[in-house]
Each structure stands twice: as C-alpha cells, then as structure tokens.
C-alpha cells in the first residue's frame, strides 16, 4: 500500500525547520525513486498544535507519529518506517510513564481532545482544495443552498453555537437579526485579528484549514442575504493570508464562490483585508472602521453592527473558530452539535495552553471540561512538578484563577461568574514563582499600549492603575493602594466605551480578589513572595542543599556567584541584580528568594 508522509508545516513547525525536513524527504525520495516500486506521497499540512515538539511527521496509514524530526533523521525514517514497517523509538513521544507511543491517539496530549474546529488540520494540505473536497468539503454549503435561509438559521440556532471570539454571543441569533433587515447590501466578515499574546487557534485554522472558514462564511452570507464578505486577518499572519488567498482563488475557479455560488442564482465575493496591527482592531466596530479605511477605533455599540455595521449596513461578523464549526452544524444538524459540551455552552473550544505546563500547545476539548483536566491530564502538570499557583484565562484582559477553583468547568458562563472570562481561549499557567502583582502589572502595561486611547476611563484609568502597580512592584506601594485600584477598576468596567476597556481591569481585580495577601506583602512588608519583583527580592543559597555543581554561577549574568566545585556557593549581594537566573538554574532547590525588608 502506498504510504503518505504528512509533514506539519504550521508556523511553529516552520520555525523549527520543517521546510528543511520537507526538502530532505523530497530529495531523498527522488534519489531512491529509480528502484522503488511505489513512490510515497509527501503532504505538507497545517498545525498539529503540539508545536514545542515540532517538526511533526506522520506516516499514514500506519498512524505512526514522529516528533522533533531533523533533516538528518529523514533517510532513516524513509528506510525503516516508509519502505519497511519499523518504528524508530527515539523519535516517538514518551508518555508520562516513559513509554514510547506510536499514534496521536495514544499521546496523552491528544488523547483527551475532541477535534471539531480543528478536524481537518494536520490531515490535509491546506493549499490543495482537492484534499478538502475529498473529506466532504463544501457539501454543507451545497446543502445550505437547498435549504431556505430560515432553515439554515434555525439549524445554527439549534446548535447553540456561541461566538468563539470572546463575547459568546449566540451565532444563530446574530444571523437571525441580520436576516430580518430589508436593508441591502449586507455584509459578512470573518474576524481573524487574533491579538491575545499566546493565543494562536485562529491562525492555526486559517493556515491549516482555510476552506472550512470560507465555507462557514459562505453559509452565513447565504443565510442573511449578503453578496460580499471580508476576511480581516492580522497583518503578522503571513502564512494565513497566503493560504486564505489561495483558497479563495481555488474556490472561485471551481465556481464554489463568485458570480454564482455552486451553480445557484446567488452571488458571493470574498476578499482578504490585512489588519492594521492593533490589538483593538479585534473589537467588532474598530475592525469595521479599519476595513472601511478609517482609524481603528471602536464606536458606542448601542446600535449593534448587525443593524449598522460596515458602511452602516447590516453586517454579520463571526470569529474564525465560530465559522469553522458552521459546516459541521449544517452537515450533521444543530442538534448533534448541541449534544457536545454543556447546556448553555455547546460544542468544543480550542485553547492555547501555555506557560509553566509540561505539554503546551493547541488543545480542543468539549465545553465544560475542568481546568484541572486541561492543565494536569492534557498539559501533564507543572514543569518540574512545582506547585500550581494560578491560570490566567481569556487573554490580557482575562482573569487569574487560583488553585481552589481548578475544578471549575470551563465554559462561557462559569468563568465570567468568577471575574475571569473564556475570551478567545488563551490559557497561561503559572507556578509558585509567578508574582501575581507583576502579572497584573504586565497585562495592564500591555493594555495601556493597546487601548485605542479614545475614551477617558480606559486610557486614563489604565495609566493610573499601571502607575500604582508599578509602584507596588518597585517597593513604593502605599496603604490604600489596593482600595484605589478596586475603585478605579470598577469605574473603568462601568464607564468604558468598548469591551476592551470594560474587561481591562479583570487581571487587576481578580488578582486582588484571589491573591490579596501578595499585594499586602508587597505594600506592607516590602516583600515579593514569589521572588520576582527585583527591588524587593534578594537571593541566597542554602548551604545545606547546595552541592556545588556550579550551574548557578555559570548562568549568573552579573558574575555574582562564587564558590569552589563541590562546595557550597555564595551570592555577593553587592553584585547581584536579583534576576533570578540562579534559582532557575538550580536543580536542588538550594537558591531561595528572600525579602529585602526595610532595605527596599
């Protein structure tokens, strides 16, 4: 049987050199093609989500997966696993018990996942429309064309699908409202301006399965009666732009979209708009202003964009992941989709699991999966088995959730109840060496730079909250600061113009709520319990634990550590810059962070 070699060529694997691996396979196969009976087929695929272990190579139909493949491994893979049926254990994934596993299904990172939005990624070549068609692509669009718009919308409503971009607004209801207006032209748009640091599910879908999103957007257009649509894609996403453009050309060439949608009387023109490079352009009205060529600033949304959106016409804007689910819903029915997940949050959600977990990457699980399951079963727990401290969900304006709430089920409503949000699905795990005040300061600083700066509460409120947080981290915190942060935070939530401002105080308010003692230690004792804030931290070596391995001294950028080999080392406080690299380097837990006390 002819074998297929699937090579992951998502952005992560490309950065790890997967294109060199592709080249190596090509030239090696060519070299051997003369005496081979069957020439194996090479396929470049989208992102498999396990980027830290890339480049990932899958041999099909054997379902044998290799990780961290280098060009030098290629001849061996061809010889043993493609021409023969042997495994190469050193390239296989090692599970928790240290066993080498063959398939993705046996890999604990993938075993608990349920892939809907990511269903094709890693299996198909995103630049080849045939691959998509072979897996039933555009069948849902064909079906939708045979249904009435009302039936299509009813199916989406029945699915319970809610917007994956963050707000969780029911997609069916949005379509229903847009369809109810007799004001033409109408528009559809896809929000691919993913701006949350660390989140890359939208990029991954656009890069790895662009036709699924096009199909979703085309179905939306038919349902509401739009003839024009836009893909607004973040400017930095070169590969996504390239793949979507290619997919649009191919779909048009095949008569799937264009002057006639699959031979029907309906027209649909879709085009790509590159983003302006601002976080705020992910906000719906700022995004629309940007498409129209104006400055990317939000407007007050008392009149919603389904009524007055692009050029003041009815517009449906859906997120990439939302649209990727649409073909499934039309193909299999909304009811089937609604069976997955929880009652009010149906389906699955893709999370970008990053931070101090053993296994990081893109994870798709049913809604209602607990944080504990995500972090410990899929993520494999905390690096170095250190204590878990918090998980930050929902991107820069999400909230921090403490250990006591790890059994919380992740869906739209339960996270919001605790001051956090699911947002677009960013999930940053932190261990006991993360300072929660510093975390709040970091995100507030990000938002200060990324706020559009239009309204007073967001622009000035963030500026002042950052001022307080910086003071606290640098040892200038005062009594009353926590209360003032809360006071400004609540007013910013209440009075800001758009949801960026309304959610911007979340990192501050949740860290105060769940880690108030850390704030108090900074302010009253001038001590950073996590040993992160430099002005408040000194490092000491516990002589009883130090074995004199010299790892800390090698890593010290200031040359502050001395000591003979195999003898306890010492840190010279006059040279130490409190960067903490000694603590990171030490494998014997001998480096301790201590407060500076009154010295600060």
């Amino acid at each position: 049987m002819k074998k297929q070699i699937l090579i992951c060529c998502g952005t992560g694997c490309r950065a790890n050199g997967s294109m060199n691996v592709v080249e190596a396979f090509r030239s090696e196969i060519e070299k051997n093609s003369a005496d081979a009976d069957v020439i194996p087929q090479i396929k470049t695929t989208g992102c498999n989500g396990f980027c830290e272990n890339g480049p990932i190579v899958k041999i099909m139909p054997d379902n044998l997966v290799y990780y961290k493949v280098k060009p030098k491994d290629v001849p061996e893979i061809l010889e043993k696993s493609v021409l023969e049926d042997q495994e190469i254990p050193r390239l296989m994934y090692k599970d928790n018990e240290g066993n080498r596993v063959r398939s993705q299904e046996e890999n604990p990172f993938y075993a608990h996942q349920q892939k809907l939005a990511l269903r094709h990624i890693g299996k198909i070549d995103p630049e080849n429309i045939e691959d998509y068609l072979e897996l039933g692509g555009y069948e849902a669009l064909k079906k939708a064309l045979q249904m009435t718009p009302d039936e299509v919308i009813t199916e989406v409503e029945a699915s319970g699908l809610r917007g994956r971009g963050g707000a969780g607004f029911p997609a069916g209801r949005k379509w229903r409202t847009a369809a109810s207006y007799d004001n033409f032209p109408k528009y559809v748009a896809c929000n691919g301006d993913e701006g949350d640091p660390g989140a890359f599910m939208d990029r991954s879908i656009l890069e790895g399965d662009p036709h699924a999103v096009i199909e979703g957007l085309a179905i939306a257009a038919i349902a509401i009666g739009a003839e024009e649509g836009f893909f607004y894609i973040r400017d930095e996403y070169d590969l996504a732009v390239k793949h979507v453009k290619k997919a649009l050309e191919d779909a048009e060439a095949r008569g799937i979209i264009g002057e006639s949608v699959m031979g029907s009387s309906k027209r649909l023109h879709l085009s790509v708009v590159r983003g302006g490079g601002a976080f705020v352009c992910g906000e719906s009205t700022a995004l629309m202003a940007s498409i129209e060529g104006r400055v990317g600033e939000p407007r007050a949304k008392y009149i919603r964009s389904v009524q007055k959106g692009l050029w003041d016409q009815p517009t449906v804007l859906n997120n990439v992941e939302t649209l990727a689910n649409i073909p499934l819903i039309i193909r299999d029915g909304g009811k089937k989709f609604a069976e997955i997940g929880t009652e009010t949050s149906t389906g699955t959600k893709v999370f970008a699991l990053v931070g101090k977990v053993k296994r990081t990457g893109l994870v798709e699980v049913p809604m209602g999966t607990s944080l504990r399951h995500l972090i410990f079963d899929i993520g494999g727990g905390i690096i170095g088995d250190r204590p878990f401290k918090a998980v930050q969900t929902g991107g820069p304006s999400g909230g921090c959730i403490p250990e006591s709430m790890l059994d919380l089920k992740v869906d739209f409503d339960s996270l919001a109840k605790y001051g956090a949000m699911m947002g677009s699905g960013g999930m940053i795990v932190m261990d006991d060496r993360s300072c929660m005040v510093e975390v709040a300061r970091y995100y507030t600083n990000f938002l200060c730079e990324e706020s559009c700066g239009k309204c007073t509460p967001c622009r000035e409120g963030l500026r002042r909250m950052l001022e307080i947080l910086t003071d606290i981290c640098e040892g200038r915190g005062r009594e009353g600061d926590i209360e003032l942060l809360e006071r400004i935070g609540h007013a910013v939530q209440d009075a800001s113009l758009c949801s960026l401002g309304k959610s911007a105080p979340n990192p501050i308010l949740t860290t105060i709520k769940y880690f108030r003692d850390e704030y108090e230690a900074h302010i009253r004792e001038k001590r950073c319990p996590a040993g992160v804030c430099k002005n408040l931290t000194r490092f000491e070596i516990d002589e009883a634990k130090c074995i004199g391995c010299d790892m800390c001294a090698k890593g010290c950028p200031a040359g502050a550590i001395s000591g003979e080999k195999k003898m306890p080392h010492r840190i010279d406080p006059s040279k130490c810059i409190s960067c903490g690299s000694c603590r990171e380097a030490c494998r014997f837990d001998a480096v301790k962070a201590v407060g500076r006390g009154q010295e600060a």
Binding site: A278, V280, V295, R299, A300, Y302, I303, L447, C448, E449, E450, S451, C452, G453, K454, C455, T456, P457, R459, E460, G461, L462, R463, R464, E467, I468, R478, G480, D481, L484, R487, I488, H490, A491, V492, D494, A495, S496, L497
Partner: protein
Amino acid sequence: MIEITINGKKCTCEKGEFLLDVARRNGFYIPTLCHHPAISGQACCRVCLVEVVEKGRSKIVVSCVYPVERPCEVYTDSERVKEDRAVVLMLLKERAPESDVIDALCKAYGAADGSRFAAIDGEKCIMCGLCAGACAKLGTGAISTVLRGTAKKISTPYDEPSKDCVGCLSCAYICPTKAITFKDDGQTREVWGRTFEIVHCRECGAPVGTREEIALAARRAGEEPEELCPTCRKKKMTDIMAHTYGIV
C-alpha cells in the same frame, strides 16, 4: 412616542432620540465635554454618563449617544452615577490639571481624590478629539489623533508644520478645555507651528482672516476670494441691490 422617566419625572420622546437631548429638554442638566452638535458621536469623555434601568436591569450608559428605544427609568444622579463620574472626573483632572473647565466640573459634581498620582504637568488637553473632528469638517484635516493607548495625542503628520493647515482656528475654538495654543496679534497668526499672514479688509482695514482660510472658504462657496470683512461685504451687497432697484 416613548414614555420614560428621568429621576422619577415622566418624559416623552421620539424613538431613537438621544437621552442627553431628552434630559436637557426636560430640565435635567447633564454635564458634557466632548459633545458638540456639529460633531456627532464622539462619546469619549464619559462625563455625561447616566444610569438606565431597562426590564429590571441597570446599566451605565453615556447619554450623548444613547438612543432611547423603549421605555426605561433614567437616573442622572444615582449613587452609581456619582461614583463612576467622580472617578472619571478625577482621571480628567490628573490628565489636564491646568484646565479651569475640568476644575469647575470637579467642584460642581465632586471628584475622587487623585492626590496619589503625578498629574501631567502643564496639560489641558483631554484627548476628546473634537479639534480633529472640526478640522476634518470645517478645515482640511490637517490634524488628527496620532498613536494609541496612553501615548495618544493630537498632532499634525509627523509633528511637522502642516501645509494643509489654513490657520482657521476651528480646532482652538471648539476645544472644550481651551488646550490649543495660538497667537494672533492682528497682523500674523501662529498655530500648529506655522505663521499665517492676516488679511485686512480693503474697505475698512479690519482683520478678516488668514489668506489661506479666505481662499478655502471661497473655493467651497464657488466664489472668488474677496478681502472684505463681513460688515463691508454686507454693505457691498446692499449697494449692489440698491443700484439694481434704482434707489441710488
């Protein structure tokens, strides 16, 4: 017609009317800074915020752009309004410590204590953007908002003197906090890094405006630029009409 209550008083309005207009018409004064009838939809200073209760749910909205769509209860001075407005005013005061207008608002409505913060030295601008809006509408779009976040400011492209500026001072006149500085001694006018020559009325010698703004106004009106002050212009028209009717 929709019936709403404002601070308990029954008021009627058209569907879609802005809450600020309804309130002011009914004798409830709501403070504003960035609201201007000629430049709509700014909604950024947030001083005009009020509390709206609809179907039992309370929310804070800015009255200047909030369209009344259904019956609701409005409170312009509830505890929540007072608290949010106090913080907004404090933020404005720390932003623009030199502004008398902000100072007066803080005194009238009560601002939170901002002594914890380092106020921005010498600043009067509250970044409402009315100037840029006026320039786009009346002038030539010579100034706009630049950058974003806390670094956002009003400026000419690349902070260089703009060749598009006509020195009309629409920006300075519309500014609610008088933050745009200019000099005008009757002979020359300086604004946004440029110096303009003032044209004087060829009849009476009164200052008319900059040569550039007169040219812009004439171009928009489809006329030839004329160096006449409004009074002499009127006089000239009267003379023409009198002549036409044979009075003189």
